[in-house]
């Protein structure tokens, strides 16, 4: 295996291949980070097109735009593409760019493996998106791929399963790389408790990935053997149990939602202190809160299964355990607010996104708590209320944090400040349209509108029309980001090494844009 010490790679880079081959063979963490982010942005746009098609269908009651079968494929693939194609690779991209810069390492621990982790993703994406064009169409069992439906689908399901296997391997390799880098490659003097919080949250996320991605791989492997090799893990007729699938899936699934949010917490914890011009309030408690969220996340999975006929003690256990997780999450929110308290606040674009994140993510946390109350969730399960909840935590949480981080570090990546005016327009459009889209879904869910269904009863029409208008607004707002990106790469105000005057941390000690090779001589942290 490519256990190369990156310092040795030094020379052969400058004389390495050029053009496309440079990107295919690169082992440089910055190149790979960039590729991860471009990939995830493309996936974000493809998932977005699916979402807008779904919303177009739901604009009015009745069937107008797509057939129900295709609608089911869209909802399922939208979820898979966004989770595994957009959000997760984007965070890995951030990790690639930032972790070595933040801890004063010259590259990731296993540079060659890093290249493989990335290049596994495009084939997986082709499998996923290509499955729309095979007989029977794409997988349509929901992103959760519940048995028995997933045992019955056509070959689109097999393609989705293989895609998940590949993406799982990629994530696990990426995670191992991150753990080893953070634990072994820190610059002298960079003790664990001096590490930027982004590195801490990613370290813990990486452990979560190593623990649960294989469980998902196991679950979909069981589906695969049930489909083709005569096993009966989930086939009731052969003595199996479809509910078992839900347990195995959510044993992965709940930690997975924290995999998607912990790095976001890390990004926000970098940005808030910079623009409050104060050190992060309660650094140590942030670290412990992250760790306890991660540990607790293994004990709550069945809160997705309150309606499967669990014994009452089981429901109570999972209900209280879920509520317990809200405590460390609350610690974080209070710490961010306390960091801002009496700080010299300014609201440049990254800070706007970060503050917006705290506001909307917290709403999502609260609706999570409401879903956690078993008797209430029995009413809410599989309604639009749940859709509202997880979009508040995933879009307004993970995605907003990604935008915050992108605006924050773009000067370091490109050497130019991003366009503040466009960035702010992007933020305000996203914020307003996001809420127009998803806030009404709470009411729809409370009134009983089921999710994943292409048609609905007439009384839901107004809120659905509103959500669709919001969704198109939100979708088109994202095009502003493309303009910002292009402008920022092409030119703009030159960024100083310390692009934000309140920023601390090693990444701001190297020039902007960060040169191809950084920290080949480790910096000494006092």
């Amino acid at each position: 295996m490519a256990a190369v010490i990156p310092d040795h790679l030094h020379d052969h880079h400058h004389h390495g291949p050029t053009g496309l081959m440079r990107w295919i063979t690169t082992t440089n963490h910055k190149d790979i980070g960039t590729m991860y982010m471009i990939f995830s942005f493309i996936m974000f746009l493809s998932g977005g097109v699916m979402a807008l098609t779904i919303r177009a269908e739901l604009f009015q009651p009745g069937l107008q735009v797509v057939q129900p079968e295709f609608f089911n494929q869209l909802t399922s693939m939208h979820g898979l593409v966004m989770v595994f194609g957009a959000i997760m690779p984007a965070f890995v991209g951030f990790a690639n760019w930032q972790i070595p810069l933040m801890i004063g390492a010259s590259d990731m621990a296993f540079a060659r493996m890093n290249n493989w982790s990335f290049w596994l993703l495009p084939p997986a994406a082709i499998l996923l998106l290509g499955s729309f064009f095979v007989p029977g169409g794409a997988m349509a069992a929901g992103w959760t791929m519940y048995a028995p439906l997933s045992v019955q689908m056509g070959m689109g399901m097999d393609m989705a399963i293989f895609a998940i296997h590949i993406m799982g391997i990629s994530s696990i390799m990426g995670a191992i790389n991150i753990v080893v880098t953070v634990l072994n490659m820190r610059a002298p003097g960079m003790t664990m408790m001096k590490m930027p919080l982004f590195c801490w949250t990613w370290l813990i996320t990486a452990y979560l990935l190593i623990a649960v991605m294989p469980v998902l791989a196991g679950a979909v492997t069981m589906v695969l053997t049930d489909r083709h090799f005569g096993t009966s893990f989930f086939n009731a007729a052969g003595g199996g149990d479809p509910v078992l699938y839900q347990h195995v899936f959510w044993f992965f699934g709940h930690p997975e939602v924290y995999i998607m949010i912990l790095p976001a917490f890390g990004i926000i914890s970098e940005i808030i202190p910079t623009f409050a011009r104060k050190p992060l309030f309660g650094y140590a408690s942030m670290v412990y809160a992250t760790a306890s969220i991660a540990i607790l996340s293994f004990t709550v999975w069945a809160h997705h299964m309150f309606t499967t006929g669990m014994p009452a003690v089981g429901q109570l256990f999972f209900m209280y355990a879920t509520m317990l997780i809200a405590v460390p999450t609350g610690v974080k929110v209070f710490n961010w607010v306390a960091t801002m308290w009496r700080g010299s606040l300014t609201f440049e674009t990254p800070m706007l996104w970060a503050t917006g994140f705290i506001f909307v993510f917290t709403i999502g946390g609260f609706t999570g708590l409401i879903c956690a109350v078993a008797p209430i969730d029995i009413q809410l399960q599989d309604t639009y209320y749940v859709v509202a909840h997880f979009h508040y935590v995933l879009v307004a949480g993970s995605l907003f944090a990604l935008f915050a981080g992108a605006y924050y570090w773009l000067p370091k990546w490109t050497g130019h400040m991003a366009d503040e005016r466009l960035g702010k327009i992007h933020f305000w459009c996203s914020m307003v349209f996001f809420n127009i889209t998803f806030f009404p879904m709470h009411f729809l869910g409370l009134a009983g509108m089921p999710r994943r269904i292409p048609d609905y009863a007439l009384q839901f029409a107004d809120f659905n029309a509103m959500a669709t208008i919001g969704a198109f607004g939100f979708g088109f707002s994202q095009l502003i980001f493309i303009v910002v990106l292009v402008k920022c790469v092409k030119g703009g105000e030159k960024a100083a090494a310390r692009a934000w005057e309140g920023a601390h941390g090693l990444e701001w000690t190297v020039p902007s844009p960060a040169p191809h090779h950084t920290f080949e001589v480790p910096p000494v942290v006092k």
Partner: protein
């Protein structure tokens, strides 16, 4: 802090082993789940129920039991020999279903019961049923299969009709095609 390559490799191996162990753990959840279900007494679809608590018959109530039969991708003829009967709670009753294998080769099927309304399920005690095990039918075989049951006397007062519905599934692996919708053949 910056460690030699050997240490990196050692950590890599340890983490990779952890990932493999977790892959196994996913499969270990299967027997674990079965144990928990057995211990908690849930999910015992395929086990005979305990017989009625007391032998008393509640003549004051008459419950209509409707019988329903379905097959899932299985070319068997499957039907109840009576579409409905009237029983008193506590009364031991025997009814029968008939099944015919339309194929020229043996097939194994498994019947899965369900109840409407759902709450009736816990008060419907089957003492004997063809659903307790898989049924292998010889080519073109016709068979009559009994169900013996008691409806509990503590059946909620608002339940006056219970539908017992069976669906026969083909047991996977007994025959080449798994049976599904869409692309596979």
């Amino acid at each position: 802090m910056r460690k030699a390559g050997g240490e990196n490799r050692q950590l890599l191996i340890r983490l990779a082993v952890a990932a493999f162990v977790m892959f196994g753990f996913g499969f270990a959840l299967v027997p674990f789940y079965e144990q928990i279900c057995a211990a908690a007494g849930i999910n015992n679809l395929l086990q005979p129920d305990r017989s009625a608590v007391n032998g008393q018959i509640d003549e004051s109530r008459t419950i209509t039991i409707e019988f329903d039969a379905n097959t899932h991708d299985l070319p068997w003829q499957f039907r109840p020999l009576q579409s409905e009967i009237k029983v008193h709670p506590g009364q031991l009753v025997q009814i029968a279903y008939e099944v015919v294998n339309n194929r020229d080769y043996p097939v194994t099927g498994q019947a899965i019961p369900s109840y409407g309304p759902k709450v009736a399920g816990q008060h419907f005690r089957k003492l004997e049923c063809f659903c307790f095990s898989g049924q292998t039918m010889a080519a073109r075989e016709r068979r009559t299969m009994p169900v013996v049951f008691v409806v509990d006397t503590d059946l909620p007062a608002d339940v006056n009709t219970i539908t017992l519905s069976y669906t026969f599934f083909e047991v996977a692996g007994t025959q080449a095609s798994g049976g599904d919708a869409g692309g596979r053949s």
